[in-house]
Symmetry: C2
């Protein structure tokens, strides 16, 4: 469960390892009184950690923490004059929050503790997009309803943060206040998640030899 | 990976077992030319099988199959005159499809192969609700756009179907035509999914002794 040794080119991660990373993070969130009121899972990668995390955030006798899913994909943006400098990745929304259902069952997101979950923080583009857009939506709704959104608190959880230059920055205040939670920081190498494994037994064995079990 | 022996009271399911059930189902869907164009995951239980299934449905070089999430919860309906007979479970929508995004990126659901995914078919109430409401939405949209929704094909995939009397029926035509896919049919016992395990190593060992690995 330690960071990969420098010679590792491909980091094999087992399901049980992911389970433990979520469990560990949930304990941390609870210990620091930073338990979310709602989880926002960025699909597809965030679905699995979000669902596991939910089990461990709930205290005995409490209701399930709601999970809302959003779908974000990174596509190459295809400008006609693309050069290495201008080729970028564009974030495409394939699903967004269902504000109708949230408002009905949950009295809006205003003033809530909101945890955004994804599997990996690579270039930080997706997380930046999700956080910025969600903040904007909550602010606009607060304005519309004449309420203050001051107490709305966003946090971010990823299984792995790749130690590399990022294309976007998350707010300094979020990073400095412990509300950016990466269960593990790893070198900029290939992370092989179990859900993509064509031979899960082999994959799990490899994860075991790397200590990610 | 066989059905639980009759004396088993609690069925321990490992992540790797779930992975293999999804892989096996994806192969079946592909072999029968029943590959979905879109997956609809019923959250929270459907998130994990939906994400795993997606890996194996995609053919090399193809784009990811989109996953849309919906959130459904079963709540006890609380009539004032509740008796054993009238106490029921009410389905509450906590998230629904984002038709704006689907229509923009996917040209509607009309005429598509749609696979609804959940972890377990217990009383069938949630699956019935999801299928009925989704069908209604697609039909209404087809009417609105003056298109035919005849070619829209819904299928259902669950990891486990509990062999017990169901509160709702799915359409006979769906059941008879192989479009109801339960990776395993199990007795009406407690299924312990890994994402709820407080000790995942112990859980995995128990799954191993039961052959669910």
């Amino acid at each position: 469960m330690t960071a990969a040794a420098p010679e590792v080119k491909k980091l094999y991660i087992s399901y049980n390892n992911i389970h433990k990373l979520c469990q560990e993070t949930a304990e941390k969130l609870k210990a620091e009184s930073n338990k979310p009121d709602i989880i926002i899972a960025i699909g597809g990668g965030g679905f699995i950690p979000a669902r596991i995390l939910r089990s461990f955030i709930r205290e005995q006798g409490e209701k399930n923490i709601p999970i809302q899913a959003i779908g974000l994909s990174l596509y190459e943006s295809m400008g006609n004059n693309s050069t290495i400098d201008t080729i970028g990745k564009e974030v495409v929304r394939t699903q967004w929050l269902d504000f109708g259902a949230i408002d009905k069952h949950f009295d809006t997101l205003i003033g809530k503790k909101i945890l955004i979950v994804d599997e990996v923080d690579d270039t930080r583009t997706t997380l930046y997009y999700a956080l910025t857009e969600l903040k904007k939506d909550v602010r606009n709704q607060a304005i519309k309803l004449g309420r203050s959104d001051e107490k709305t608190i966003f946090s971010v959880f990823v299984l792995h943060n790749k130690d590399k230059p990022k294309k976007e920055d998350l707010p300094k205040e979020l990073m400095d206040s412990g509300r950016y939670l990466a269960a593990r920081t790893v070198p900029d190498i290939w992370i092989a998640y179990p859900w993509d494994a064509s031979d899960i037994d082999y994959h799990t064995e490899m994860a075991k030899t790397q200590g990610n079990i």
